[in-house]
């Protein structure tokens, strides 16, 4: 996790909030560093994490996680992390036509109906222990990323249904958190993606939007992060607070600064 981002979001691993849906959105840049941040944050906060990783392999997240101070292999061994590796399982699902249900079963279908097997997988992974003792603090679902499901043939409405079911189970019933990543296609006019993005923006409590700079590529400032709190926890706080920062990604951390205050400029 990045300590500077924790300060900006005003959260620490000790007092993580519960029942929240966080939307990560990137436009014209790569916002995957936020996924690494939240993954290591929740693992350090002693939460049980179910990670649906569709876009990269396990060892990629593992190696970056070790730079941030968590080991995914040991988390998986002790049961804290349930990892669904999309790339590896998709090949298994597609080429070996078993009849048993698999979370990525929609790959076999010509017109995928819904994501129910995937939801069953998530629910099974995050259900509390039978003996009543809570070994972990709260369940967390991480999805990287949802726009990929649209590319694989699932409709935007089906993806929104999946998110709704997951929210009802994870956020409301189990008092956990959800973090999802969606790409913003910008001017590529991807209607399904826009439907998905708008639908999620209305449901989420916290939106972290990374954008590339409007002026193009810069070596010292990699992009701009917009933080939007949609439903504040205290009723007296002002509604829909929004902050904008610029950031630079380094080898093991990300540094944030106010707009125009990059150390390279000052």
């Amino acid at each position: 996790m990045f300590p500077e981002l924790n300060n900006l979001l005003n959260i620490t691993p000790d007092r993580a909030e519960q029942g929240k849906l966080t939307l990560l959105c990137d436009a014209k840049t790569d916002g995957s560093f936020l996924v690494h941040h939240f993954l290591s944050f929740y693992l350090k906060a002693n939460c049980k994490v179910c990670f649906v990783a569709l876009i990269q392999s396990f060892s990629h997240y593992n190696i970056v996680g070790q730079k941030l101070g968590v080991s995914l292999t040991s988390a998986r061994e002790r049961g804290q992390l349930v990892f669904l590796e999309g790339l590896k399982s998709s090949v298994d699902v597609f080429f070996q036509a078993n009849e048993e249900p698999h979370p990525l079963q929609f790959l076999r279908e010509a017109k995928p109906g819904n994501l129910q097997p995937l939801f069953e997988f998530v629910r099974e992974a995050l259900k509390p222990e039978e003996n009543g003792e809570a070994a972990w603090r709260c369940p967390v679902l991480l999805v990287d990323d949802l726009s990929l499901l649209l590319s694989l043939g699932v409709g935007a409405v089906a993806v929104l249904d999946f998110v709704h079911y997951c929210r009802a189970t994870v956020c409301w019933e189990l008092k956990g958190n959800m973090v999802v990543l969606v790409h913003d296609s910008g001017d590529a006019e991807d209607e399904e993606n826009d439907i998905l993005l708008n639908g999620l923006s209305h449901q989420s409590h916290l939106i972290l939007r990374t954008e590339g700079l409007a002026t193009g590529f810069c070596r010292d400032v990699h992009g701009q992060l917009r933080i939007l709190w949609r439903r504040p926890s205290q009723p007296t706080a002002p509604r829909d607070r929004s902050l904008t920062y610029q950031y630079k990604i380094q080898d093991k951390s990300v540094s944030f600064f106010a707009k125009g205050m990059s150390p390279a400029v000052l």
């Binding site: 190696i63 070790q66 080991s71 080429f95 010509a110 590529a188 080898d251």
Partner: protein
């Protein structure tokens, strides 16, 4: 992806990476033995595959694309397990060159090739590969290109002219694979027949495969993509590129080349209409291909006519699904052909995306204005550094405020992005 811990960089704790990887065999590449304890044996095995080298940044295994200039722009080379997508130029003149460079590099390095095309027979494609630049012939050949002095001694290589120092030579010809990373090729010559015959290659020519029956029932993939995917998976499994055959004594890389993917010859109609029935066929194919590549020792180059795809959303999705994306834009037929700034070049090359593998950052080049030029023997990529003054003869116009845009080179015309100041 597994990082070469012993021959990697100091970034991160290499000891813990090695021990973590040795405890479980869940690395995507099963090229390590089950007990790679971080000693030399595990590291040396990774480096010993001919034609590869570990990346300086994160120890990722890299292969050369065949063009050392492109290797440098991509951060050292193409990572094993990733897809390089070439967006074809408008008349498909220059993208086959990059395709052939990739395959030729595979033959010289001794890698196994898999060539897939719906238009040309793979055997014909292999016949047209460029010849590698050789030691004894190069002096004679380069004399015509380089107007420098030459000395009569042929064995004093480096003192002939400073230009020769820039071109590394191959020490030997013949079926012995060279262990150097990245070679130079002479496009005016064909590759020697004995090199092709000595290499191990598989061809997939779509018109020949039409009649065989389908094993998997049809999902939304078009017939051509499905057959190609099964073919690739078959080769990977049978030749042990995914580590399923541990008795194989020498590990090798599989280089996959797919030409004109997405064109109507593959049975896909995304290039023909905007609202096509099967718009997920190509993206699903790319995802499954990437899944196959990540779990095996292979690298893939795909050329795609993205300028024909009418639905811009599909181009965005395809870009997100590929790891490295390079776009070629040739000046033929466009207004830039007569632009004095571009008169030395044949087109622009855009590095649209570089993957961040095992890392938070990637090696992006700072300069985004890259142009290519096809000389008689070489395909070169250069930075556009010249600022020409154009305008009336007695007034000079200087160019100020050059905006470097990541995506907008195609949308904004060249003159629109400059502000001109008149000086007398």
């Amino acid at each position: 992806m597994a990082a070469a811990a012993t021959c990697g960089t100091g970034a991160g704790s290499t000891a813990s990476v090695a021990s973590a990887a040795s405890k479980s065999k869940v690395t995507s590449f099963q090229r390590r033995g089950p007990r790679a304890s971080g000693t030399d044996s595990g590291g040396l095995r990774l480096v010993s595959i001919a034609g590869t080298r570990p990346s300086v940044r994160n120890g990722q295994l890299l292969v050369s694309t065949g063009l050392p200039a492109l290797d440098q722009l991509l951060g050292g080379g193409l990572a094993v397990g990733t897809v390089l997508l070439i967006e074809e130029d408008k008349y498909n003149i220059y993208s086959p060159l990059l395709f052939k460079y990739f395959l030729a590099e595979g033959i010289i390095s001794g890698h196994t090739l898999l060539v897939a095309s719906a238009k040309e027979d793979p055997a014909d494609i292999l016949q047209e590969l460029p010849a590698p630049l050789l030691d004894d012939n190069c002096k004679k050949e380069l004399d015509e290109d380089v107007c420098n002095h030459k000395t009569p001694e042929s064995n004093v290589k480096m003192k002939i002219a400073w230009r020769y120092q820039l071109l590394p030579k191959m020490e030997q010809i013949g079926p012995v694979s060279s262990s150097r990373f990245g070679h130079y090729y002479d496009i005016s010559k064909r590759i020697p027949q004995e090199l092709i015959e000595a290499s191990n290659w598989h061809g997939f020519f779509l018109p020949e495969k039409r009649s065989s029956p389908l094993k998997v029932e049809s999902c939304s993939l078009t017939h051509g993509y499905l057959k190609l995917l099964q073919f690739i998976q078959n080769i990977i499994y049978e030749e042990g590129f995914d580590g399923s055959n541990p008795q194989k004594k020498k590990k090798n890389i599989l280089r996959i080349g797919i030409q004109n993917l997405g064109s109507p010859l593959w049975g896909d109609d995304i290039c023909c209409t905007e609202n096509c029935d099967n718009s997920h066929s190509l993206t699903k194919f790319l995802y499954l291909l990437r899944g196959l590549l990540r779990t095996s020792l292979s690298a893939c180059i795909i050329t795609m006519p993205t300028h024909l795809i009418q639905n811009k959303a599909i181009i965005a999705r395809v870009t997100n699904l590929s790891d490295t994306v390079v776009g070629l834009e040739s000046f033929i037929g466009s207004e830039r052909e007569t632009n004095p700034l571009y008169k030395d070049y044949h087109g622009l090359i855009h590095i649209r995306q570089i993957p961040r593998l095992n890392n938070l950052i990637c090696d992006e080049s700072d300069v985004k204005d890259l142009a290519f030029k096809l000389k008689r023997k070489l395909f070169t990529i250069e930075y556009i550094t010249k600022l020409k003054s154009y305008g009336l003869q007695d007034q000079k116009y200087f160019l100020t405020g050059h905006l470097q845009r990541k995506f907008a080179m195609k949308k904004n015309p060249f003159r629109g992005s400059y502000t001109l100041k008149k000086t007398y």
